[in-house]
């Protein structure tokens, strides 16, 4: 596997802080020298940040109410 290919496979683990020390040093050296892998890292970081930011919507109140009512209703029936 090419050097880029080998590092490409592990960029997510790098982002998540899951690499062992040796691999970490190696990938950081490569990232500082290789613009293409550097771009890949940055674009992944932004992708994750974007997806996370768009995920905080509250759920509709009527849905909240329905879920609770249904659960209580079913459990009450079962206990009879």
């Amino acid at each position: 596997m090419s050097e880029c290919g080998r590092h490409f496979e592990r960029i997510s683990e790098y982002l998540d802080g899951e690499l062992d020390q040796e691999t970490l040093v190696e990938i950081e050296r490569h990232l500082s020298e290789c613009p293409r892998c550097g771009n890949c890292l940055e674009s992944l970081k932004r992708t994750i940040a974007l997806c996370r930011r768009l995920e905080d919507e509250e759920i509709p109140l009527d849905v909240q109410r329905r879920i609770k009512e249904k659960v209580l209703e079913c459990l009450a029936e079962e206990s009879h």
């Binding site: 997510s12 940055e42 992708t47 930011r53 329905r66 459990l75």
Partner: protein, 206 residues
């Protein structure tokens, strides 16, 4: 020797613990409180997995019902939240299998390498106004997430959206940690490629 019940970074949730104890003592108020604590998260998870509001509502309800039916035997060795997501994840997969029988697509690493490394993802980290991003990219991102094969979408949602660790995600889905890492990386690359392509396309039209 039993494994430690809670990983160090996951403090024991005292509120859940108290609510579970009062549920066991017969409190129906504890049921309401537990539903209120987790219904939004489970509903949104179901919605991201299935794409339909009705399915998401059903998944949240099924999850709670199944949980409450077994809660008296729940030994609290894993956090309640993880246990609920495990039930919900199974409900999502079951629903999917019922809908279509075809085997699931794999995303090959080769298919993600096209384009010679030229990706454009806008940087919104300095944009405090949420609505700007929402208008520009919400539909694109939702569409890209929907296109992910569901086992990839599952891992992406649990890791990147819900914030579970690799180890926790492996426990919830019932796969190895290595498989969690592989699927997560491919899912992220897949989304990156889709968002980048849509963004470039939009740029050309502007």
């Amino acid at each position: 020797m039993p494994k430690s019940a809670y990983p160090v970074d996951k403090p024991f949730d005292a509120i859940d613990h108290a609510l579970i104890e009062s549920f066991k003592a017969g409190s129906s108020e504890a049921i309401e409180k537990l539903v209120e604590r987790y219904e939004s998260r489970l509903f949104r998870f179901g919605l991201r997995m299935c794409g339909h509001q009705q399915d998401a509502e059903d998944i949240a309800q099924e999850t709670f019902l199944s949980a409450f039916r077994h809660l008296d035997r729940f030994r609290q060795e894993t956090p309640l939240k993880n246990w609920l997501f495990k039930i919900a994840a199974r409900a999502c997969f079951r629903r999917r299998r019922k809908k279509k029988g075809e085997p699931e697509r794999e995303i090959s690493i080769e298919s993600l390498k096209e384009n010679n490394g030229d990706y454009v993802i806008p940087d919104f980290s300095e944009t405090p106004d949420e609505s700007v991003i929402r208008n520009e990219l919400k539909a694109v991102i939702d569409g890209a997430v929907r296109e992910l094969p569901s086992k990839y979408r599952m891992v992406f949602n649990l890791r990147d959206i819900e914030g579970f660790s690799t180890e926790e995600t492996a426990g919830i889905v019932g796969i190895s940690e290595q498989l969690v890492k592989t699927r997560l990386h491919r899912a992220r690359l897949f989304l990156r490629n889709k968002i980048s392509a849509a963004y470039k396309e939009g740029d050309r039209k502007r």
